[in-house]
Symmetry: D3
Amino acid sequence: MTGAALHALQYEPIVRRALEEDLGRAGDLTTDTLVDADTQAEAQVVARETGRVAGLEVAMAAFRLLDPAVAVECFIADGERVVGAVTLAHLSGPARAILTAERVALNLLGRMSGIATATARAVVACQGTRAKVVCTRKTAPGLRVLDEYAVRAGGGGNHRFGLDDGILIKDNHIAAVGGVDTALARIKARTGHMVKVEIEVDTLEQLDVVLALGGVDAVLLDNMSPETMAEAVRRVGGRLLTEASGGITPDTVAAVAASGVDLISLGWLTHSVRNFDVALDFRYR
Amino acid sequence: MTGAALHALQYEPIVRRALEEDLGRAGDLTTDTLVDADTQAEAQVVARETGRVAGLEVAMAAFRLLDPAVAVECFIADGERVVGAVTLAHLSGPARAILTAERVALNLLGRMSGIATATARAVVACQGTRAKVVCTRKTAPGLRVLDEYAVRAGGGGNHRFGLDDGILIKDNHIAAVGGVDTALARIKARTGHMVKVEIEVDTLEQLDVVLALGGVDAVLLDNMSPETMAEAVRRVGGRLLTEASGGITPDTVAAVAASGVDLISLGWLTHSVRNFDVALDFRYR
Amino acid sequence: MTGAALHALQYEPIVRRALEEDLGRAGDLTTDTLVDADTQAEAQVVARETGRVAGLEVAMAAFRLLDPAVAVECFIADGERVVGAVTLAHLSGPARAILTAERVALNLLGRMSGIATATARAVVACQGTRAKVVCTRKTAPGLRVLDEYAVRAGGGGNHRFGLDDGILIKDNHIAAVGGVDTALARIKARTGHMVKVEIEVDTLEQLDVVLALGGVDAVLLDNMSPETMAEAVRRVGGRLLTEASGGITPDTVAAVAASGVDLISLGWLTHSVRNFDVALDFRYR
Amino acid sequence: MTGAALHALQYEPIVRRALEEDLGRAGDLTTDTLVDADTQAEAQVVARETGRVAGLEVAMAAFRLLDPAVAVECFIADGERVVGAVTLAHLSGPARAILTAERVALNLLGRMSGIATATARAVVACQGTRAKVVCTRKTAPGLRVLDEYAVRAGGGGNHRFGLDDGILIKDNHIAAVGGVDTALARIKARTGHMVKVEIEVDTLEQLDVVLALGGVDAVLLDNMSPETMAEAVRRVGGRLLTEASGGITPDTVAAVAASGVDLISLGWLTHSVRNFDVALDFRYR
Amino acid sequence: MTGAALHALQYEPIVRRALEEDLGRAGDLTTDTLVDADTQAEAQVVARETGRVAGLEVAMAAFRLLDPAVAVECFIADGERVVGAVTLAHLSGPARAILTAERVALNLLGRMSGIATATARAVVACQGTRAKVVCTRKTAPGLRVLDEYAVRAGGGGNHRFGLDDGILIKDNHIAAVGGVDTALARIKARTGHMVKVEIEVDTLEQLDVVLALGGVDAVLLDNMSPETMAEAVRRVGGRLLTEASGGITPDTVAAVAASGVDLISLGWLTHSVRNFDVALDFRYR
Amino acid sequence: MTGAALHALQYEPIVRRALEEDLGRAGDLTTDTLVDADTQAEAQVVARETGRVAGLEVAMAAFRLLDPAVAVECFIADGERVVGAVTLAHLSGPARAILTAERVALNLLGRMSGIATATARAVVACQGTRAKVVCTRKTAPGLRVLDEYAVRAGGGGNHRFGLDDGILIKDNHIAAVGGVDTALARIKARTGHMVKVEIEVDTLEQLDVVLALGGVDAVLLDNMSPETMAEAVRRVGGRLLTEASGGITPDTVAAVAASGVDLISLGWLTHSVRNFDVALDFRYR
């Protein structure tokens, strides 16, 4: 997969918090009552549907953080495609730890692989066009690093990681300064040299104004029909990056891609996640 | 809505973390560059589809935590049904704070209302039956308090809040002790008096064994056909609570409910959330 | 010991906080001034009175978290009885780390073993009766997981781990809704299936009302004389669990147990802890 | 009371953690089910035995942190003596918040007042002597700021707040450098000018050596009989502060004080706390 | 000042941590011993040298976070120039809080104003040239948001806020892929559309290669003489942004600026801060 | 070096926070794009100027915390003097981790060695006098443990670690009680036996009053000329420790030391740090 790696330093606090909320104040009542502390077990982490895996290392950290005695071997890298029932990882160690951390691990793996799988579906739908699939800031609260990593694992790209990561001018911003020209002038005067600038336009007329003014790196074509987008792409003529946005789903993305835009952003990838079906097959030794 | 309230003490750390991840190290470059610090604005938080609202107070806390000068008035309570485009809340105050916290607020409200709306849909599908809709521990990592609250707002109930909140005996647990009888004996001997006990069965034969042994409060009927469930309910005869589980969705829940079970648990409610469509209508003063 | 285990994930933040408050900003001035960094030592953790040990692993984590080079060997499991002076664990490694972490380790071990020892004393006093000794939520702020674990190590049981762990209806709750009948009806309608319900009664008349209404799993007999409790147990006739509560100490618990109640809860076990006498015997290598 | 005040900045994280551990993931099931959100109530915080109050402001913060709508009026200052049943504070506001935060507030107030009361008892026992009562580092893990503040409220003093707060040389330290003379020389050479130095002696012979060497501010007389202590005080002759230590309790402190020592340190004050009896009298408005 | 604002959400944890480390476990022994709790005072925060103020609101938060009863009025905005002794803010409220928070407040204000003043000096030195002064990632650990904000207050700009905020290719990166061409091709293929790309060159030959290859937004001229830089600027001819870097100080910045570069980055601004002289003038009421 | 060691428990949270702020939400875009995950490398940490090293272990923890696979070997101990270009440590392991953690490590090492070097310079300037160089509480917010440790590494001593670490009476404190005599009486009555007392005097007249009253361990001579200080030292005559303070720098410290004071405190050591020049020499394997 392309893009930046995810460091344990970044995901371990999230996994730890998930374990803490599941252990509560008294831990796993069922397992600790029924399974002796010295019972050993093995388990397979298995995918039960076709898609892209993401977050395997993140998810497996749940076992390791609960009990370092659990040995984990992963058979697949994040971003790889699995077809049908596939064993993703093998666990061996104390039965208690494997049973106790199971739900947290599967919750992480199911969500992240769900995002990667949806992303890959959108990427496939765009094949043969120049369109690159990217996500938005519509991520689950506190989970942006995981959500955006999962998009990368699915073959997509990221947009801004946060509000301090590039300029994206929307109509509400323009209204505040009185016009696109003033807005762009102010941006030009005050923005750092490592900051890219994108502006949202809703109509071809607005696009023409932006093209005349210049000073932006990309233009976001918001909620346009594929036909209007195609005309927008034609008018831009390669001078700026063009990005399509607004309620696009994996079902509608192909039509959008055909308009010739450079980028298509889908909030859907991270705000409407369908869980990827994963499970744990367990065996006592 | 029924069930326990959500305290600011519980949700504020989550909202704060979401703001921090969006502000990053340098805050909202676009807004702070284009909008003056003393510009005032008003905004409406609007629902743009039909469903159940949840998390309005949680989401509005994003504005308050970013800038206490933002005044918020809510027009609707969590758990209420909205039809079509409805104004949920009114904001007024510094334009910068409203623009900067917008995405975090909408991410929270969209996810929580999405859960509540899906829950309400399942609850409606069960009307006329005795079945109560409940969620599972398949929640987003670190967001369990929000996810389970949203289920309550949608009219559903919660199952265990975590591993220390009741006993739920699964086949992997039984395998560890060698048999259902030993498992139940051990549970009886070692479990606190405030702890309820539920056991998972996959077949009617297993159910018969449990019924013969006694000592549990509820039985979880896992991945059975509606017909088998109906037979299971008949055999239980009201002596225990019966819970249906296993891949149930709002589309299939009605058929399951018709079997006569007391409870239906759907991981789907929280692991495959579809965002509820909410937006901010903004106006400078 | 019975009941759930304590995970390092749960106790390490507490041990770490205790070390941080003892190290302050400049660490162990005395030890670092007088003992060279490469001096090695051995030490024995010894019990100096008869009782039950709890928290040995938790306490030993203080050495490990301060310096992983300290090797620890434990000779006794939590919950075991020690008579007179007994060596509980052996330490070897850098002398500085052993001297610096000593007080934090002994504070943890002394408090937890004190709770376990008092619990065991109450359990012994109830032998020959059906009464099980349980603790309450009267724990030291922030230390509930340790305190309740120590009670389990002493042979006692836990009551609710927190406010979200079962329903316990007191008179102030009943007053809010106007009567026991309304209260129980509301509980029945709104409470999850994994939640047990207990109600506090102060008089036999209140008990009769509860018995007539039904709908609870247990009844808490508050501040009754042993005679009244015996009569209460007779009236309940095994239909509900009976719990005695209210100012009971290890000195008075036997008389209460003789009344035939199922459970006796003692706030005393965790709110009035007497330290168990432990020490470190130190030797340079 | 004398000594430093306790800042909200220092105690609020402790109170918040205590509330979080009691609320768990789902909050106060009982109260939220039975008491409506708009029900108002009043309550009195009452002492039910004679002693010293400590931590009233800390404890009342539990109500305020849970719900700022709870108004609190305190009638007594930390460190004051109460005789019999006395109203300490008055609460008014949302009934839910008062009921939900009650246990956390009483746990804080009961523990801190228990420490203050025991301290005051020891202080009274020393009246007429020159002995000042001080505590040790044997505090509950993570609660040192509260425990040591409560000692001050009871009229006692603090010893070192932590390992970086003064030099206290024990026999294990001396063994590491080979002798008292080397130890004191090293301390003199390496210790900051704001750091006081105390040394522990077990015998009069050791005391004579220390007196001959000089270079310390205080001498800790460990586990000596009152007679030996009196002789030690005589030999010191006012040149150094003398401190008695070792298994002293409020019962034995008077005899120790009679020996003429300047200070008596009791680990007992904080490691074997008996809860002070406080309660909440509740009334709906 | 231009650039993004600093939110209380971002700086309050830093101020709180600074207060906690100064209060330690027992708070301000001197003030609490000598000043009564109800003593009121007024104080002026004064600058005692000429320069730029930054962090006034951040620093004043120390008083407010310690005690909300301290009223603060600021007379100057961050980024403004002060000449000689100037009153920056007025405080009134409890004397204890003002005395206790004084050092933390002045430490914050002195450091941030020191950075702003040094930045302003470099900005002045560049006047009349096209060069913009920017900082680097050489900030104090954990204080980047404050340090970079102070640079903005001094009239400078920021470079990357962190490793995820733009691409900056150095020689060690190029060595890993075998050549500039491969490096730039990989960047082009894998980098998000909101990410700017800068590359470091040490010689004019390397610059020529980069210019021939294209695909970058800016070129960092590292450790070149002003003459070589002037030649580099000439060769670039406005096609890319040019940035000078490498051991530049306010003393040498003018000569660098004369070379015609667009940007000059100085690690010096944040890694070698000279405190700006501020003080508190105190008066009891 | 003398004085207390720094524990990983104390510095790791600071290093972790520094890594987190540099990684941001998406990690090292440049390195992860250009360097393969399995590329191995070696690197030397080198000093590039003459001075004292401090924080080498702290800085190297950045590599270890990012990736435990990085092996670190240090060739020099904190506090040692290095002349010219010297290799301080050797790193080997994953190239990505070494490149990604480089800046955080160098920021730590550069700041801490800068403090140690300035301290050593002041210590050298005092050679041949009785004056000991100490720092103040003018440290970077949140970094006091590192800053004060670096002073010790440079051969200096610490003053108070915080407000709870000794009494330091200033004129504002005296004004609150009405006079030096009342202030000293109150301190004597209320201060713990492990607490040293120092008082600030601005004139010889104030010094005479303090000498007449007694009851302090040290006197801080604030902003006096070297001549006045010499007279002050003469008047004190060895009865108290004398400390010089007020705007002293390494350039002026020698003249102050010649006055015969026992201690000289320099805020300059930590509030105006000049970075020590360190770098990473990198080589792929």
